[in-house]
C-alpha cells in the first residue's frame, strides 16, 4: 500500500484544488453553490429562468472529458458493477441525494467547508454508509 505522503504528492490534492477553484468561481461570480445533485435535480422542477445556468453547468461537466482528451489521455476508468446493480445504485443515489438535499459536492465540499452542521452530519452519514455497503458487498456477501 502506498504511504499517505505518496497520495499527497500525487494528483489527488491538485485535483481537489481545481474542484475548489470551480466552486469558488460559481459562488463568487454567479452566487450559486456547486452542489451537483441539486443542480441536476433543480432542472427536473422546470422553473422558468432557472434552467439555463443548470443546463450550461451540466454541459460543461459532460464536455470536460472531451476537452481533456484534446490534450491528454483520460485516466483509466473501470466500471465493474453489473447493469442491474448500476440501476439500483443510480436510483438510490438520485432519490437519496434529493431527499438529503446534497451529495459529495454540495454537502461534502461546499457544506463542510462553510461549517454547516447539517452538511457535516450528512457527509459523515454517507461516507459511513458507503464504508458499510462496500464492506458488506466485498467481505461478507462475496
Amino acid at each position: 500500500m502506498n504511504s499517505y505522503f505518496d497520495w499527497f504528492s500525487g494528483p489527488s490534492l491538485a485535483g481537489g484544488l481545481v474542484i475548489g477553484i470551480a466552486t469558488t468561481i460559481l459562488l463568487l461570480i454567479n452566487g450559486r453553490i456547486a452542489g451537483i445533485s441539486g443542480i441536476i435535480g433543480g432542472l427536473l422542477r422546470m422553473q422558468r429562468g432557472d434552467m439555463s445556468w443548470r443546463i450550461a453547468f451540466i454541459a460543461g461537466l459532460i464536455l470536460s472529458p472531451v476537452i481533456w482528451q484534446l490534450f491528454h489521455a483520460l485516466p483509466e476508468i473501470r466500471v465493474e458493477t453489473s447493469t442491474s446493480m448500476l440501476i439500483l445504485a443510480g436510483l438510490l443515489v438520485g432519490y437519496g441525494t434529493r431527499l438529503g438535499s446534497g451529495c459529495t459536492s454540495g454537502h461534502g465540499v461546499c457544506g463542510v467547508s462553510r461549517g454547516s452542521p447539517r452538511s457535516i452530519v450528512a457527509t459523515l452519514t454517507f461516507i459511513a454508509t458507503g464504508f458499510a455497503t462496500v464492506y458488506l458487498l466485498r467481505h461478507i456477501i462475496s
Binding site: 477553484i21 451537483i36 435535480g41 453547468f57 483520460l74 448500476l86 443510480g90 437519496g96
Partner: protein, 137 residues
C-alpha cells in the same frame, strides 16, 4: 454571462474530477473499502477542494452579492431531520454499490461510458421519483 461562467465552472469541475482520479469508480470504491487495500486519495481531494472553498465562503459571508451583482444564495436550513439522515443513508448505499456520485456520473457519460448512461438514467429516475413524492410539500 452567467451561462458562460456556469459552462466554464462545469468544465473546470470536471477537469478536477479527472485529474484527481475520482472519475474512476474503482478508485472511489477502494477508498470506501476500509477492510481491503484502502486508498485514502479521496480524502486529499476533499481536503484540497474544501481548503479553497472555505476561503470562498469566508469572502461570500462578507458580501451579499456576487461580483456580477447577483444575490449569493447559501442554504439557510439548519435542522438535522430524518430526511437529511435517510437521504444521506440511501445515497451512501448507492455510492457504495457503484462508486459513482452525481458529478463523476456526468463526466463518465462524456467519456463515452455506456455503463454511466445506464447509471445516469437511473439516477435521474430516482430524482424524478423524489420530485413526484415531495414537490407538493
Amino acid at each position: 454571462m452567467t451561462i458562460i461562467v456556469s459552462t466554464l465552472v462545469g468544465m473546470i469541475f470536471g477537469f478536477g474530477l479527472i485529474l484527481s482520479g475520482m472519475v474512476n469508480p474503482a478508485i472511489v470504491l477502494s477508498f470506501l473499502d476500509i477492510a481491503g487495500n484502502w486508498n485514502p486519495s479521496l480524502l486529499w481531494v476533499m481536503g484540497g477542494a474544501m481548503s479553497v472553498s472555505a476561503i470562498a465562503f469566508a469572502v461570500a459571508k462578507k458580501r451579499k452579492k456576487s461580483y456580477l451583482g447577483i444575490p449569493i444564495q447559501i442554504p439557510i436550513t439548519t435542522q438535522i431531520d430524518h430526511r437529511l439522515l435517510i437521504g444521506s443513508f440511501l445515497f451512501g448505499v448507492g455510492w457504495g454499490i457503484a462508486g459513482i456520485c452525481p458529478g463523476p456520473a456526468l463526466v463518465l457519460v462524456g467519456s463515452g461510458s455506456a455503463n454511466a448512461i445506464v447509471f445516469l438514467i437511473a439516477m435521474m429516475t430516482g430524482m424524478l421519483l423524489f420530485e413526484m413524492k415531495h414537490s407538493q410539500k
